[in-house]
């Protein structure tokens, strides 16, 4: 694999200057944050580069255990921010993500899809956890929005004698469906429009396309299933927070950001 030299990397400044000057030209007011976020991104990535180097140098189970734990906590925190107003959103996110990670990882290992090595498990887990994080956040948000906009229908269901779970079915179904749709669409056009990031990376790194797609298949299908599981867990646990013990609708305070 060819290395990008530091000097070549510096030319990226030129690229950053384009959106920055555009911002000034059209007074879009994002010049400062464009510079700041590019800088931050660069620093973050270098940091991760060194961290990963370190993680790969220690025994696999240590490296994996350490970094997967860090990813789980950060992702849960991020997901729960979208669940403002929902009780125990952080713990719920954390336990769902742990469950999902353990499930996927054991399947990968048991069926000999990848070896239990930091170089494989960490990036692959990162993709699973990252996607599940987004799915969990969206599921929180979706539940709040759907309960808000379908209040009348939920009340109608309750008035017909439904319990909280029965009255929430339509909302739970919509939430899970919404989590799955983008993945269904993505799978349909995968590789045709844009090569997935992971595959791109492998090919750049020197892997053959046939090797690369094998990994991509594993990751795409795994993401698809974990994202669905994640949305399912979140919606099946959170619906009850929208009701009190007398099966009456409760408003959940907490804006979305």
């Amino acid at each position: 694999m060819t290395n990008i030299s530091n000097l070549s990397l510096l030319t990226m400044i030129l690229f950053v200057m384009i959106p920055v000057s555009l911002s000034y030209l059209y007074s879009l007011g994002i010049g400062k944050s464009a510079i700041w976020s590019s800088l931050r991104g660069v620093v973050q990535l270098f940091l991760i580069g060194y961290i990963l180097t370190f993680l790969f140098s220690i025994p696999d189970w240590q490296g994996i255990g350490l970094w997967v734990a860090v990813m789980l906590v950060i992702a849960s925190f991020q997901a729960s921010r979208r669940g403002q107003g929902i009780p125990h959103a952080f713990l719920l996110s954390l336990s769902s993500l742990i469950l999902i990670e353990v499930f996927v990882l054991s399947l990968w290992i048991v069926f000999d899809i990848i070896p239990f090595r930091s170089e494989q498990v960490i990036p692959m887990s990162g993709m699973i956890i990252g996607n599940s994080m987004v799915a969990a956040g969206l599921a929180f948000e979706r539940m709040k929005n759907e309960f808000h906009s379908n209040q009348g229908k939920v009340l109608a269901a309750l008035s017909l004698g439904a319990n909280a779970s029965q009255a929430s079915q339509m909302i739970i179904r919509k939430t899970i469906r919404a989590a799955m749709i983008p993945n269904v669409d993505r799978l349909k056009t995968i590789g045709l429009v844009q090569l997935p990031g992971m595959m791109t990376g492998l090919i750049l790194g020197g892997a053959s396309p046939i090797e690369a797609i094998r990994y991509q298949i594993v990751i795409s299908i795994s993401v698809f299933s974990t994202v669905s599981i994640c949305a399912m867990i979140i919606s099946l646990v959170t619906y009850r927070f929208f009701f009190n013990q007398n099966m009456q609708l409760q408003t959940i305070e907490g804006g979305n950001d």
Partner: protein, 231 residues
């Protein structure tokens, strides 16, 4: 005549110290300006909300003493908006009965006939229905549970005159032949007078006046009701 439901000093932020009785197998109409708390009161009777103060009785027991979904099934409610569930008319009609595993195709056509809708509408998607059709499907959906009390919130507001006539006959039949008790909110004062045996007049969250319908319309006591009737 027996009391089937009773509200005693019921109060929350939208309803103020409301006190009334519903007589079994009668039709009571409820009138009052927009925002006076009529719909809010129905929510309390169906126990979709609990009052901050006061008690509500159903058949001389506090409503809290019944299993809540049994209570709601028995005190059927039709909302001001149809609030139909996504799916077909049949999906909507069978929602209540299916919870008790009591659904049959026959029931569907029977219900539609009651609200004067054609049977072939059963498989239609509710998003393709007119406002008046939706309103009647919502009504039929509540009837499907065969409740003893019906709380109706403006269920004829989107209907043409002939259908209103039909629905009014249906309401009479439900009371006279099926022994149901109906509490019905309406903005149509003529209808309130025509249909009701008793009438409640809500104003600014308070139950300003109540009584036999003919009496109430002929001799309104409060200025608020006088003004409301004359307007």
């Amino acid at each position: 005549m027996k009391t089937i439901m009773e509200a005693r000093n019921v109060k929350n932020e939208r309803v103020d110290d409301v006190h009334f009785e519903l007589m079994e197998e009668t039709l009571t109409t409820m009138i009052g300006p927009s925002g006076s708390g009529k719909s809010s009161l129905l929510m309390l009777l169906n126990r979709l909300e609990d009052p901050d103060e006061g008690e509500i009785y159903f058949k001389s027991k506090k409503i809290e003493q019944y299993p809540i979904n049994e209570l709601r099934r028995n005190i059927g409610m039709v909302f001001q908006q149809a609030h139909l569930f996504d799916g077909t008319v049949e999906d909507n009609l069978k929602f209540g009965p299916r919870l008790k595993k009591k659904w049959s195709q026959n029931l569907g056509s029977e219900l539609l006939e009651k609200v004067q809708l054609p049977v072939d509408i059963l498989t239609k998607d509710v998003s393709h229905l007119s406002g008046g059709e939706q309103q009647r499907v919502a009504f039929a959906r509540t009837l499907a549970n065969d409740p003893e009390v019906l709380l109706l919130d403006e269920v004829t507001s989107a209907l043409d005159m002939r259908t209103v006539e039909w629905m009014e006959k249906l309401l009479h039949r439900l009371v006279d032949e099926e022994g149901k008790t109906i509490l019905m909110i309406t903005h149509d004062l003529k209808q309130a007078e025509r249909l009701g045996s008793y009438t409640l007049f809500m104003n600014e969250g308070r139950l300003e006046e109540k009584g036999e319908t003919s009496e109430l319309f002929r001799h309104p006591n409060s200025n608020a009701l006088k003004k409301f009737i004359e307007a």
